[in-house]
Symmetry: C2
Subunit: 386 residues, 2 copies
């Protein structure tokens, strides 16, 4: 019996409720130097460390760094590689190690993030810039993973639904924000990377936002959920994806909205509905709101790159005129000055200008980043349902 030697100790640990694990790494880790990573110093400089006496090269790439950029760690005599970076502004970041070129999450960091088909380690630098999306001691809403039938897509799909604090124990009806992710993401993105639930918890606790539901769908019309990804299998080629053009938007308005309004205590009129999305989800937002005028009263388009140089601007203007005529209380557009979709974003703004569509434009620093999208949600949500 392979556990013989350890048996007495392990039973004792179990009785005491201490941590037991059957993983091989546990024991070998006991023999290695104790490594703490990431370690955030009081001045917000960060040290990254990983133990490997045997590696040729260890580097790190973090979301605060440039595209393609990596930073080398230096090996100490005890086999621990480390690097300390300059203080970071308080925010939420993620990073990966590269052990001889192989992407790895930090083995000593208990928090990792899913981003579509990949994982990265979480780095939270707490402070002014992160308070709005931290897990603070305020009442928390709940997140449910909800399966629903989508006749439009002929599939059984999954979405996440945030219900605000007090929803379960009360009888009030709430408004709903439908919040859409970008390409590469899925129904998990707005809570895992976007921290939408904590942002609303915090805004609601401060009285800045109205209590509302947030519905976070899977915008990849060819998927039922992120669970459907298979290793090494392209679930959908680019060509086949084209056949789904507009289908997600249809399923959102014709399947998701009725499901939510049947199964939750919500305000089932235009006045109780907001729609926002980032990048590809910004495109979905534009399409769904113009195809179904009169459905959403509040619209937010974050960093959207939907309009290329060949877009039929005259047709788009007609659609926006119809949407304007249906009555929209707020049309909000956000984009970063360094975002590669800026050109396309400007086409959206020019349509809004030409059609005399009242809107608000927020141009932030930075580019196509979750730091911006968390920021945009924090600005947009307080404008809703008031």
């Amino acid at each position: 019996m392979k556990f013989n030697i350890l048996k007495t100790t392990l039973v004792a640990l179990l009785v005491m409720g201490s941590v037991y694990s059957s993983q091989a790494q546990e024991i070998s880790a006991m023999q290695a130097p104790r490594v703490v990573s990431p370690e955030v110093a009081p001045n917000n400089s960060v040290s990254f460390r990983v133990y490997s006496p045997n590696a040729n090269e260890v580097t790190v790439n973090g979301s605060w760094m440039g595209f393609r950029e990596t930073l080398p760690l230096k090996k100490e005599e005890n086999g621990v590689w480390s690097v300390t970076i300059d203080p970071l502004p308080s925010s939420m970041y993620h990073y990966n190690f590269f052990i001889d070129g192989v992407s790895a999450i930090d083995p000593t960091n208990p928090h990792a993030l899913r981003d579509g088909t990949r994982y990265a380690s979480l780095l939270m630098i707490e402070g002014d810039g992160s308070e709005v999306f931290e897990l603070n001691p305020v009442p928390h809403g709940n997140i449910s993973k909800v399966w629903y039938q989508s006749p439009s897509l002929d599939s059984y799909r999954r979405m996440y639904v945030y219900t605000p604090p007090g929803y379960d124990s009360g009888n009030d009806k709430y408004p709903v924000l439908y919040l859409l992710h970008g390409a590469g993401g899925d129904e998990d993105a707005w809570s895992a990377l976007g921290r939408a639930n904590y942002i609303l918890d915090n805004l609601i606790a401060e009285g800045k936002a109205k209590p509302m539901l947030i519905v976070m769908t899977n915008g990849n019309a060819w998927q039922t959920s992120t669970l459907q990804n298979k290793p090494g299998v392209e679930t959908m080629t680019r060509e086949n994806r084209a056949q789904f053009q507009g289908k997600f938007e249809q399923s959102l308005v014709e399947d998701v909205v009725p499901y939510i309004e049947k199964n939750y205590r919500v305000i089932a009129t235009k006045e109780g509905r907001a729609l926002a999305g980032l990048s590809m989800g910004g495109g979905h937002t534009i399409t769904a709101s113009t195809q179904y005028p009169g459905t959403f009263n509040y619209i937010g388009v974050f960093s959207s790159g939907i309009f290329d140089a060949n877009a039929d601007m005259a047709e788009l203007e007609n659609k926006f005129l119809a949407l304007k005529a249906s009555g929209v209380s707020k049309y909000w557009v956000g984009c970063g000055v360094d975002d590669f979709v800026m050109e396309s974003n400007k086409r959206l703004l020019s349509i809004l200008d030409k059609t005399g569509f009242e809107h608000e434009y927020y141009e932030s620093a930075g580019g196509h980043t979750w730091a911006n999208w968390r920021d945009y949600l924090s600005i947009f949500a307080p404008m809703l349902f008031k």
Copy 2:
């Protein structure tokens, strides 16, 4: 602007709804050989592959292998390391690569599992042995991440609640299984590793189990949730944990059960309550059921190592006699023949025998594994509420 070269392509991809990512790895991965990992052959042999022209040593450890055991991958000329293992029985497994000794999830596998503070890549070998916990085309229940006040622990805590298919749209009252994890786990364990939601989806669809709620708490009384883990910080020393002895069990019965019975449509009597747990959670099950006789009508103890050689057997017998007198419809015990807690498990059985406590004992192959606990749940759940 760092995206300049890629801008046109990326905007086009966004418009088409294709996968875009700002991660550095994306581009370098395009230049590397295309790697598929894991790849399951028709005979269920499995190939693992990872690209690293630069590594000195790459190994893999999987949950089908022995403790501490690792298997070397072999480097090919194109820099891809690979190994193919013999066919595996259909089941759910997890594995990690070690790149020059550093634990890494498989960078090309889109599915990873959290196990407390660690991550591993998921390997699903579909077939007879896995059908009961696979995501099958049957109606799915929903899982909610629910925050609740725990006066017993003076903390605001998180649990997962599974509601069966039909719960949201119906008016029926349902019974509840309270399902507890082991040491090292948390509120995430029974869904992520235990697949409790899919097991119930499948058993309910086949008419084998009654529709029921499953409440999955965090059994670490010193934590509010797994979100509280900090890198490099021992949230609780073994000594300090002792002060929480019995506290989780109190919070379960005095805080969690009333919360569920107030906020969900459930049968709020002993007849509608079952309690089961694995390892440390088996200990919690024994303690909670004996401290609060008359609360639970169905009790399941999976691979529990609570009773050491110094246990006061006379006192325990009295407690079990009181529990027996309160009326328990089913007492079910499961353990693997190779489990290191077998000795302790036998003490539980001897108490049940001595007190004439009617019970069912299931001795499986294998040891202290999730394969067994998924199996035990699949056997236990159909016995409940009938």
